[in-house]
Every structure is written in C-alpha cells, then in structure tokens.
C-alpha cells in the first residue's frame, strides 16, 4: 500500500527531507518508523517521539491504511 510520510524539526534534518511517499506491505506506525529508520540511518528515538495520522494524534500501535499520511514528531519542546 501507499503511505505518505512527513518529518518535522530534528527528524526532517535526520531524514534529509520533509516528506516522501512509501510503498510497503502494511503494518503499524512503529513498524513504518523502523522501516524509515533503516532507509535514513540518522533517524532514531521513536520511543520518545509522537505520531499523528491524517492530522490526528495517534498511537505507535495504530495500523495504517492505504493513503494515510503519517506525521513523525520528534520529542516536542513547546512552552
């Protein structure tokens, strides 16, 4: 299935891009992060990061669907 991926802040610099499209067999948000971490070796620290799917905050255990846009948020630092 086709999934859109977006990176923010530190993750954008680690991935070397702000968005990309991925074709894969499917799975959870955490599994997608692992796949992307293999493609972009600097990308790490999924445990401290947050994930959103289609602009809604979500869980790493969420199963992705065809056409989803997954947003990888590195550890946040507002305030």
């Amino acid at each position: 299935m086709k999934i859109g991926v977006r990176y923010f802040a530190l993750f954008r610099e680690q991935a070397g891009c702000d968005a990309e499209s991925v074709e894969w067999a499917g799975g959870t948000a955490a599994e997608l992060f692992q796949l992307m971490a293999e493609r972009h070796p600097l990308l790490r620290n999924q445990a401290a990061a947050l994930v959103a799917i289609n602009d809604e905050m979500s869980d790493w255990t969420s199963t992705l669907n065809e056409g989803d846009e997954v947003l990888f948020f590195p550890p946040v630092a507002g305030g």
């Binding site: 923010f8 802040a9 620290n45 445990a47 401290a48 809604e56 946040v76 630092a77 507002g78 305030g79």
Partner: protein
C-alpha cells in the same frame, strides 16, 4: 479561539481581557519567556516550529479538558511561532474562575500539557554560533514519559 498560534508578539493584556467575566474572582496568568541560558549554554535567540493543524486541534482539546476537570469559566492559550529574541513572551495561559484554586490548577495543567503534547519544537541559537534543536535527552535516551524528572 481558545488556543491559537501567533507569528507576532503576544498581546497579554488582550489575552487577559478575553477571559474577563464578572462571575470570576480569580485570574491566573502564566507567561513563558525566552531566557538567556539552557543547560549551560548561553542562548542568543530561539526559533519555534509549530505544526499548526495538529497543534491547534490538540491545544483546543487541552483547554476543553481543563474546563471539565477544574470547572473553570474561561481559558485561553497563545503560543508563538518563528524567531524570538531574549525576554520575549513565548506562551501565555490565562484562566479565570470563581475561586483561585481552580484557576491555579487549570493554568498549571494547560501549560504542562502544552509542553508535552503539542507538535512544537524550538531551535536555540547560542552565542557560539551553534544552533540546536531542544529536546529532552533523558526522555529520548530512556524512552520514558516525563514522570521521572522535572522540566522547566
């Protein structure tokens, strides 16, 4: 709007007025300012990156939670985006309530949740010329939530 993101300096007086209500005997205000040091480094200025579509939605949820949980009358939170100089106001939370306990508690809840849930990042520029994304290295290393140690 109860939660908003601003590219221009925050008007704290206007935020206070937005929660004014004759039923309220208490107003709690928290302002977060840009300070000149962080973890031993001298900070020159700071840049906030905000992903608005999620920050605005999740920020509004935090305020709704505070309204329900503490029974306050009004709350507003405004967060800056972009390049900020030392001493500037990065975030303001204003809460009005009949009594002070609820106002204090709700104000604290809103700023604490804002810091850990919203997609907002800051890049500090140090006087050495180096700039770095700020994040909680302890959390990143241990992969835990923010229970074991304190954040400013």
């Amino acid at each position: 709007m109860k939660f908003s993101v601003s590219r221009t300096p925050i008007d704290v007086s206007a935020a206070r007025l937005a929660v004014a209500d004759k039923h309220c005997g208490a107003l709690a205000v928290f302002e977060g300012w840009i300070r000149n040091h962080n973890e031993g480094q001298e900070v020159e200025r700071l840049e906030y990156e905000v992903y608005r579509p999620v920050a605005e939605k999740e920020g509004a949820k935090i305020i709704d939670e505070a309204m329900t949980r503490f029974g306050i009358r009004h709350a507003i939170c405004i967060h800056r985006e972009g390049l900020l100089e030392l001493g500037e106001c990065a975030v303001v939370v204003c809460v009005s309530s009949a009594h002070r306990d609820a106002a204090f508690d709700a104000c604290r809840y809103i700023i604490d949740q804002t810091k850990i849930r919203l997609p907002i990042w800051k890049k500090e520029q140090y006087i050495t010329g180096v700039s770095e994304w700020v994040n909680c290295e302890q959390c990143a290393a241990a992969g835990h939530a923010h229970g074991g140690h304190k954040h400013d």
